[in-house]
């Protein structure tokens, strides 16, 4: 088997779950990894539960079926817990990261996930304070690195800075806000 980290993002339509997977894929690729990023293929509706996926590996990835047993799950909207099974297929040594003001312990109780690690971070609050809008997907990248060590954090920040500088050349405050949000999420993510 190819050694691949498989990641599933849960969000609601319009919340940026697909963009989060693309961002992570792009960032991991810039740091020399082989990647896949793909959305759940289905009719998308604003507010409805959606999922997106990543594969990240140091070696070329040839497999192209869906991800059913992820190593990492990220939940952009905590109200999804309970209405859908966010830990479905998550391996016993897996990691779940939730955008919430609740503690990891409270999330363990809610999800009944006894294995691996549970991380929480209030990415929505961080996003509102740093970027001025509730866009939790960018800060969740910071929490993901903290929880998994999947990528080198400093390298990722450097890469993100370059990409944002290209995209938002006329809006330096957006660049600063995004970088700050990722850094804060990295620092503030708590796990057990």
């Amino acid at each position: 088997m190819q050694k691949i980290t498989e990641i599933r993002w849960h969000g609601r339509g319009g919340q940026g779950a697909k963009t989060a997977a693309l961002l992570l894929g792009d960032a991991a690729m810039s740091l020399g990894k082989f990647i896949q990023a793909f959305p759940e293929y289905g009719p998308e509706r604003m507010g409805a539960p959606v999922a997106s996926f990543n594969r990240i590996s140091s070696e070329p990835i040839t497999i192209h079926y869906g991800i059913t047993e992820p190593n990492v799950v990220l939940v952009l909207d905590p109200t999804l817990i309970g209405s859908i099974d966010v830990t479905k297929g998550l391996s016993d040594d897996g990691v779940i990261i939730v955008n919430t003001s609740s503690s990891p312990k409270e999330i363990r109780t809610l999800t009944k996930f006894s294995g691996g690690k549970v991380f929480t971070v209030d990415a929505s609050k961080i996003s509102k304070e740093s970027i001025g809008k509730d866009i939790p997907n960018t800060p969740m990248l910071g929490a993901l690195i903290k929880a998994t060590g999947l990528l080198d954090f400093d390298h990722m920040i450097e890469d993100l800075k370059k990409k944002l500088a290209k995209k938002f050349a006329s809006k330096p405050e957006v660049i600063e806000g995004n970088l700050k949000a990722v850094k804060r999420a990295f620092d503030e993510a708590k796990g057990e």
């Binding site: 894929g25 792009d26 690729m29 896949q36 990023a37 793909f38 959305p39 040839t62 192209h64 079926y65």
Partner: protein
């Protein structure tokens, strides 16, 4: 010279089209190929290409306009999928009969009905006898590489045939992957100037195209198209080899994965080949001498070349995403078995029809297929010739 970027299959194909910079693109969007022409139309709007973009009201019109542009001496392209391709069926054999070197990305999606937007190969398989060269891609990188080669193949004086390059809908078209792209100038030089074989606008040398062709000549012209398809084989190999020399990735009619000492083989095409390769690795670790043949060029069908590799096998499992609906198995199975018929020593061949309408082909399904193949190689007993795997 090479830039490493993250692109989906659709983005990779649109990028190839930008670099090819065709004279005319006439298109109508359809899921999951929409992005190709959407991204390309943005290139047009941003002035990044010199293309005349014709937004038409249907795929029938898209292919009509593309044929007309090509006949007028322009390098012309379009892109489509499934029902869109089906709406073009009336025009597709005209493009090949007129020997117009149109290049078209096609994103494989199930034919309706019932209506479905997901991947299988029923759309292009149904267009197999229209005189179009068909090249399948396993991933985004191959989609990009195949698009560039398709221009060289289609426009070669010994070929002059329309060519479609396919990817698997959503599985590849919407999957972001790491790929290498070349500099614009490199691609520009690689595809070269368009050799306009016909020019309807050249008033000094008037020609007639598409005239009525009855009992007197139709037969001869069909025969000529068949000959052109046959001679395309040599050019496809030449272009694939040259691509390898120039860019480091050589292409042929098919890819052989761990076939050298194989006693049994899986034959498939498209993205499923990548998944099956990892299963080949797993069985190789267990000491099973299994290999994989990934068909890249489906038309012209490289029957002799396929047979000369597969005749060494004890057992072959064809895995395909299309059904003949009461033909003797799927289209690929039919042709592979037929290709092997004249061989003195031939393997047992079984067919697995999988993934219709985007039904996931999982690691478990592939394992089951490999186990049956192993049994067949050991016993030579065909339990069930044609099987539907993953159907409820």
């Amino acid at each position: 010279m090479v830039q490493v970027v993250a692109k989906t299959g659709n983005e990779a194909m649109a990028e190839a089209m930008r670099q090819i910079n065709p004279d005319v693109v006439a298109a109508y969007p359809i899921t999951p190929a929409t992005e190709i022409v959407m991204i390309f139309s943005q290139f047009v709007a941003d002035g990044l290409v010199n293309t005349q973009y014709v937004p038409v009201e249907s795929e029938h019109s898209a292919m009509s306009a593309t044929i007309a542009a090509s006949a007028a001496g322009a390098r012309a392209m379009t892109g489509t999928s499934s029902q869109g391709l089906a709406l073009m069926y009336e025009l597709l054999p005209i493009a090949s009969a007129l020997r117009l070197p149109i290049v078209m990305p096609e994103v494989n999606r199930a034919l309706s009905g019932p209506i479905n937007i997901h991947n299988d190969h029923s759309d292009t398989f149904a267009a197999r006898d229209f005189g179009w060269i068909q090249i399948f891609s396993e991933n985004s990188q191959e989609a990009y590489d195949n698009m560039l080669q398709a221009v060289r193949i289609a426009e070669h004086p010994k070929v002059k045939l329309p060519t479609m390059v396919t990817t698997d809908g959503f599985i590849i078209s919407h999957c972001l992957e790491k790929i290498e792209v070349f500099e614009d100038d490199v691609v520009k030089n690689y595809v070269g100037k368009f050799p306009a074989y016909t020019n309807l606008l050249d008033l000094k040398n008037p020609v007639t195209l598409g005239a009525l062709d009855l009992q007197n000549y139709y037969f001869e012209h069909r025969r000529q198209t068949a000959e052109a398809m046959k001679s395309a084989k040599e050019i496809i190999l030449e272009v694939g080899k040259d691509f390898g020399k120039k860019f480091g990735r050589e292409y042929g009619f098919f890819e052989e994965y761990k076939m050298d000492d194989a006693e049994m083989a899986i034959v498939c095409l498209g993205s499923i080949a990548g998944s099956a390769k990892s299963v080949v690795d797993e069985y190789r670790e267990k000491g099973v001498k299994v290999g994989l043949m990934k068909i890249r060029v489906y038309r012209p069908f490289p029957a002799e070349e396929i047979a000369s590799v597969l005749e060494r096998m004890k057992a072959v499992a064809v895995v395909e995403k299309a059904d003949g609906l009461a033909a003797k198995g799927g289209p690929l199975f039919d042709e592979i078995r037929s290709a092997l018929y004249d061989k003195k020593k031939k393997p047992s061949v079984i067919d697995f029809i999988v993934g219709l309408g985007g039904r996931e082909v999982t690691h478990k399904h592939l394992n089951e297929i490999f186990d049956e193949l192993k049994d067949l190689a050991a016993t030579g007993i065909v339990k069930e010739l044609i099987q539907y795997k993953g159907v409820r």
